[in-house]
């Protein structure tokens, strides 16, 4: 056992923890046979009416059992892309809607935040001028913008994209500005003595130098965007994983709700891994 690496041992332990959790789940949700004391004293006709047999009864937990969960997973994942009208779409389609909204909002935020962050990072004057606005706008919950978005845009789907945009823009903006402002002075002096043109300087020196910080901002933004999209879709409805989750709650299908929760977690993890890879690709050892 000792020869296995920490990573392998960790993985084994993870599986054990999962199995234990599933075990507890199974025990807690298992149907219980309980003796029914009322049956001994009360009217047997009344009990029959209430669907309770004499003497003992089987008490079912409201929480889905593992078997039920397995069925839900199987059903949902075997047809991820079915489309039976507005309230009944496969999980793949719903996730695709959410990802498309997040992707669009995030891209828009990038288009605005990175050039603007560059400007603020390069010019102390611009930084001083815009900083108060950024500091006030940054802590606002993105969902607080929803009424204004709905009123001005008049389209729930685009409002969702706007909410993603507004929540992604701040970490990217601030990180870009910080990264650009903190490029080592030595490197800037090199570009000065080489009389490098402003464009070459921006793209070949400042951008690569600030790239790791910018990517950190993008990774934080993506994390927040994925958190916010679920809430936003619950609010505006129609399509998306957030709407799916809320819809299944209205159907009182807890197994589908749990399934949606796990899917949200998995996709969020994959997004984070992707950004971690990107981050590694642009980072450099000093």
């Amino acid at each position: 056992m000792n020869k296995l690496s920490v990573k392998t041992r960790g993985m084994i332990l993870s599986v054990v923890i999962l199995l234990m959790a599933l075990c507890i789940w199974h025990v807690v949700t298992a149907p219980k046979v309980v003796s029914n004391p009322v049956a001994l004293t009360g009217s047997s006709e009344y009990q029959a009416l209430m669907g309770q047999g004499a003497g003992t009864t089987v008490e079912k937990s409201g929480f889905p059992t593992l078997t039920k969960m397995g069925e839900t997973f199987y059903q949902q994942l075997s047809h991820p892309f079915y489309d039976n009208g507005p309230n009944d779409k496969g999980i793949g389609i719903q996730l695709a809607y959410s990802l498309a909204r997040v992707g669009l909002g995030f891209l828009l935020a990038m288009v605005v935040a990175i050039p603007f962050g560059f400007l603020i990072g390069m010019s102390p004057l611009a930084y001083e001028a815009f900083n108060p606005f950024i500091q006030i706008l940054k802590p606002i919950s993105p969902l607080a913008w929803m009424p204004i978005a709905l009123y001005t845009i008049k389209d729930s789907s685009i409002s969702g994209i706007f909410v993603i945009f507004i929540c992604s823009v701040w970490p990217m903006l601030l990180n870009t500005a910080f990264g650009v402002a903190n490029v080592r002075k030595e490197l800037l002096n090199v570009t000065k003595t080489l009389e490098v043109s402003p464009m070459r300087k921006a793209f070949l020196v400042i951008l690569p130098a600030a790239a790791p910080t910018i990517l950190t901002g993008m990774r934080i933004s993506m994390g927040i965007a994925w958190l916010v999209i679920v809430a936003a879709e619950m609010l505006v409805g129609g399509t998306g994983i957030g709407y799916f989750l809320w819809n299944e709650w209205n159907n009182l299908s807890l197994s589908s709700v749990i399934f949606a929760i796990i899917m949200i977690g998995l996709v969020g993890m994959l997004l984070d891994i992707a950004f971690a890879k990107l981050q590694k690709a642009v980072s450099y050892a000093d």
């Binding site: 080592r184 030595e186 090199v190 000065k192 009389e195």
Partner: protein
């Protein structure tokens, strides 16, 4: 007015960082001829790096002027290559890319092959042919500094400014690179202005050593002409009869005399001061 033959001329340069406080240095006057290797020595805080930055065009002096080839130095220029104290290589570029970046800046019309060839030539000159695809983080301190030197030489500047380039290197590596620098400079007849703390380095490399008094109110106290023969070698340097007079003169200055001018300067007794010209070890001292 500028005379045709003075390559670089500095007139009455002074710098103070805060208004009202005494200037770091003042009344700095010197000239450098084409092809000359000039070292400047002084204690920390006398403004050596500031003078170099003024010559590089990276910093403005509070007062006074610096001219190169009769033109006032205003802002950085490709005519003056700088080797920085820290190596200042772009950490995300390979060694070759770092040099090529500089070459492309100097010769924007060249094609890729020309740029690569030119860059490789200068990397070969500092003995870095096999490291061209490495990132700076994979290199030792000495190798990084060589890349910095190759980059500065590759733009073929009219003048080279070196800010204590070997300060962070161990003695062995320093010796090797000093030899290389000496060789390259004698081959290319490069004009060099270099800051150093190392007296032996100054004796080995330079034709002329400027000694600065302590700051604030620092001045160039003496200009020492190197009395050792031109073809100096690191290995035989200390056997030269001129070596000890030279070395003793420099060390004596740093230990004893560097404070004297500061006291007079802060009392305002040094207006119009001209540095003393000395030739240690020679019987007939030249005075100006």
């Amino acid at each position: 007015m500028q005379t045709e033959n003075s390559f670089l001329k500095v007139e009455n340069l002074s710098k103070s960082y805060k208004e009202g406080s005494p200037p770091v240095f003042e009344g700095i006057n010197f000239e450098i001829e084409r092809g000359e290797f000039v070292c400047i020595i002084g204690h920390s805080g006398c403004g050596k790096t500031t003078i170099l930055n003024v010559l590089a065009g990276l910093e403005d002096a509070t007062d006074g002027y610096a001219y190169m080839l009769g033109r006032e130095i205003k802002g950085p220029s490709l005519d003056r290559g700088v080797v920085f104290q820290g190596h200042a290589l772009m950490p995300w570029m390979t060694v070759l890319q770092n040099v090529a970046f500089a070459v492309k800046s100097k010769f924007p019309d060249w094609n890729k092959a020309q740029i690569t060839e030119h860059s490789k030539k200068y990397l070969a000159m500092v003995g870095l042919v096999n490291a061209e695809n490495k990132k700076p983080s994979e290199l030792s301190g000495g190798m990084k500094q060589r890349v910095g030197i190759a980059r500065a030489f590759a733009i073929e500047p009219k003048m080279l400014l070196l800010d204590e380039p070997f300060g962070a290197l161990d003695a062995l590596t320093r010796g090797v690179i000093q030899d290389e620098l000496l060789k390259i400079c004698s081959e290319t007849k490069q004009t060099v202005f270099m800051i150093t703390h190392d007296v032996d380095e100054a004796i080995l490399l330079s034709d002329k050593i400027m000694l600065m008094s302590n700051g604030p109110n620092a001045r160039i106290a003496e200009i020492v002409i190197n009395t050792l023969p031109k073809n100096r070698k690191r290995a035989s340097l200390h056997h030269d009869p001129m070596y000890y007079p030279m070395r003793n003169h420099l060390v004596d200055f740093l230990v004893n005399r560097s404070k004297d001018l500061q006291i007079k300067g802060s009392a305002g007794e040094l207006d119009g001061y001209q540095p003393v010209l000395v030739c240690p070890g020679l019987q007939t001292p030249i005075t100006q």
